[in-house]
């Protein structure tokens, strides 16, 4: 039966080639749009060098400290004291790294090379030794610094390739002296450039924060698990830390936001407590569903015009089928099945188009830095196919459902006479 429907559907596509092409293209573009949006979101969680451990990293970006006696509170980046006293002692994470926030230009640092280049502003990242374990930098020369060197507050600096070129005018930079914030450092490593898109690894210059007089008062904490299955245990440990802090610092309490995984990070959640973060996630998810519904409904409305005109042409056929014994629901299934073929063909084309679009636009739309690729496996995953299939199904039901239902319920004589009432 379905084989015959299929044959007929293909025949009809050929007989109504213009409308068919338009509606297939309509579906294809809708799917492409949806896919591109999904990938734009997903790409933020893909593992890309140097942030190759995104899938097993958790982040604490924010803390709240409350005074339970007077209701006073203090919030912001994670203070160094908490990292030192509590977070560095965590048992589950493979590495705990602490780094400065480096989001905008006014966080840049004055850098110069005596006798060679004048003062310039560069993005300096103040990091610890774990930083080099958590991220995978492409070292061209030299290396990062060890835990011992970090503890000793050594004045070593790692420069990005283009920063080194600029500051040393193309001369060899490794082993030379450089002034960062008017303090002497020695260049001990040169790495391939890292795009500022990388919120935690990116920068022009990397130095141990112990080398700075003021150290690093507050920053981001990255907890890298051996396996992401450890996430719940790490989160539980953080909650323990909060309880311990409350006892140690009575009457003060501590909230460490998250720790958030990469996915949550991309949502950019604002929250001052566990409860608020749950609420924020719920709102975000609801908004996502809403956006996708709109993204489906608009093309569905457009496509429903085509479905309707295709069904109109077939009112008489539906009458004939019923006259020879087709039940209403059988008609409904057939119409939706045929429409689904169009949708799926469109969906497949849309998928291919989205790959083309994503590959093309990845630099400026997705801000995937030059040189790193979106893994093809991420775009060809079963989850993506399932999403496209569901999108096609919904598109199909939304665009053809109503007219199919109406057509299947007409009386036979009216259908035969094409009385579209």
């Amino acid at each position: 039966m379905y084989r015959i429907y299929f044959k007929q559907a293909i025949q009809m596509l050929r007989q109504n080639s213009f409308i068919s092409i338009i509606s297939i293209l309509g579906t294809a573009l809708a799917i492409m749009m949806i896919m591109t949006i999904i990938v734009t979101e997903e790409v933020k969680t893909f593992r890309m060098a140097p942030e190759i451990n995104r899938d097993r990293s958790l982040y604490i970006m924010y803390h709240v400290e409350r005074d339970t006696t007077d209701g006073g509170w203090f919030s912001g980046l994670v203070p160094h004291d908490i990292v030192k006293e509590y977070l560095s002692a965590l048992k589950t994470p493979a590495y705990t790294s602490f780094m400065n926030r480096l989001d905008d230009l006014n966080m840049q640092t004055t850098v110069n090379v005596e006798g060679l280049s004048d003062y310039g502003l560069y993005a300096a990242r103040y990091v610890d030794a774990s930083f080099w374990k958590v991220f995978s930098f492409g070292f061209i020369e030299g290396s990062g610094f060890s835990e011992e060197e970090f503890q000793s507050g050594i004045h070593h600096a790692v420069l990005s390739e283009s920063t080194a070129k600029e500051l040393f005018k193309g001369e060899k930079a490794l082993g030379r002296n450089i002034q960062i914030a008017f303090t002497n450092y020695r260049v001990t490593g040169i790495v391939k450039d890292v795009s500022p898109v990388f919120k935690y690894a990116g920068g022009d210059i990397w130095i141990p924060y112990t080398s700075r007089k003021e150290g690093l008062r507050a920053g981001y904490v990255l907890l890298m698990a051996t396996d992401k299955a450890d996430f719940p245990r790490i989160i539980a440990e953080i909650r323990d830390v909060e309880r311990k802090y409350a006892i140690d610092h009575h009457p003060k309490t501590l909230y460490l936001r998250g720790p958030e995984n990469q996915k949550m990070r991309t949502m950019d959640l604002q929250a001052n407590s566990e409860q608020e973060i749950r609420e924020a996630i719920r709102i975000k998810n609801r908004r996502t569903v809403f956006v996708f519904l709109i993204l489906l409904i608009i093309p569905a409305l457009n496509l429903s015009g085509f479905s309707l005109s295709r069904i109109r042409k077939r009112i008489a056929e539906i009458g004939v089928r019923k006259a020879f014994g087709a039940k209403k629901y059988v008609i409904l299934i057939q119409v939706l099945y045929e429409n689904m073929i169009t949708s799926l063909v469109g969906g497949l084309i849309g998928l291919i188009l989205s790959y083309v679009a994503i590959t093309w636009l990845k630099n400026w739309l997705l801000k995937v830095p030059e040189g790193s690729d979106i893994p093809l496996s991420a775009m060809l995953s079963p989850a993506v196919f399932a999403a496209v299939f569901v999108a096609c199904l919904l598109l199909n039901l939304l665009s053809a459902g109503l007219s199919a239902l109406k057509a299947s319920r007409m009386t036979i004589v009216n259908s035969l006479n094409q009385n579209d009432r």
Partner: protein, 222 residues
């Protein structure tokens, strides 16, 4: 035994300002195995009556009983099965499906009952041979002449071995020789026990059948 029984059938068509009485208080009984001709001028309600008999349309008043079964209150499912097994239609304007080839058009009634693709193909081959169209199985309706379309429509009506065939001018589009062939086919089916109700304008053809009823202006006059 009475195969078809129309009892007090009235059918009205209402458009914006006019009301057409297509059928008025029609009573008619067709016996099992009968071959009945329906005659009358254009617009007198012949097709309307055939549609009501075939459960394709509902009357405003009256009852339709087929094979002793009251059809008025049947649900969609049983009604569809009933049509599929009991009734075969030859429509005045063929109503072939343009996106299906001849073979698939003819197989249509079998699609709505348990059957295998192979048995459907075999049966389609048989009935198409009967109407002399074996060589056109893969053609599409648009590639056939009017007479050929009519014969496909007849093949489709008889493939499912219905107890009743309702034919609206089955010879209307055929030349006289082909018309005679079709009539002898219908007579053969009738001999095998099929009840046939046929609308025709051709007095000569009607005389060949067992009984003629005549309509005028929505009323039965004979």
């Amino acid at each position: 035994m009475t195969m078809i029984q129309l009892e007090g059938i009235t059918k009205l068509y209402r458009t914006k300002d006019v009301e057409t009485v297509a059928l008025e208080q029609i009573n008619l009984e067709v016996e099992e195995g009968e071959f009945l001709s329906v005659m009358g001028p254009s617009g007198c309600g012949k097709s309307t009556m055939l549609n009501i008999m075939g459960l394709l349309d509902l009357p405003n008043e009256g009852k339709v009983r087929i094979n002793g079964i009251e059809t008025n209150r049947m649900k969609d499912g049983p009604m569809a099965e009933f049509r599929n097994s009991m009734l075969g239609f030859v429509f005045q304007s063929f109503h072939l499906i343009n996106s299906l080839n001849v073979q698939d058009n003819v197989e249509l009634p079998l699609l709505y009952r348990p059957s295998t693709g192979r048995s459907r193909r075999e049966q389609a081959g048989e009935v198409l041979a009967k109407v002399g169209l074996s060589h056109r199985m893969r053609h599409f309706p648009s590639q056939l002449s009017g007479g050929q379309c009519q014969r496909v429509a007849i093949a489709r009506a008889i493939i499912g071995h219905p107890k009743i065939i309702l034919a609206d001018e089955p010879t209307g589009n055929l030349d006289s020789r082909m018309g005679e062939d079709i009539m002898s086919l219908l007579h053969e089916l009738n001999r095998e026990g099929t009840t046939i109700v046929m609308v025709t304008h051709d007095e000569h053809i009607a005389r060949g059948t067992q009984r003629i009823v005549r309509f005028f202006d929505g009323r039965r006059i004979q």
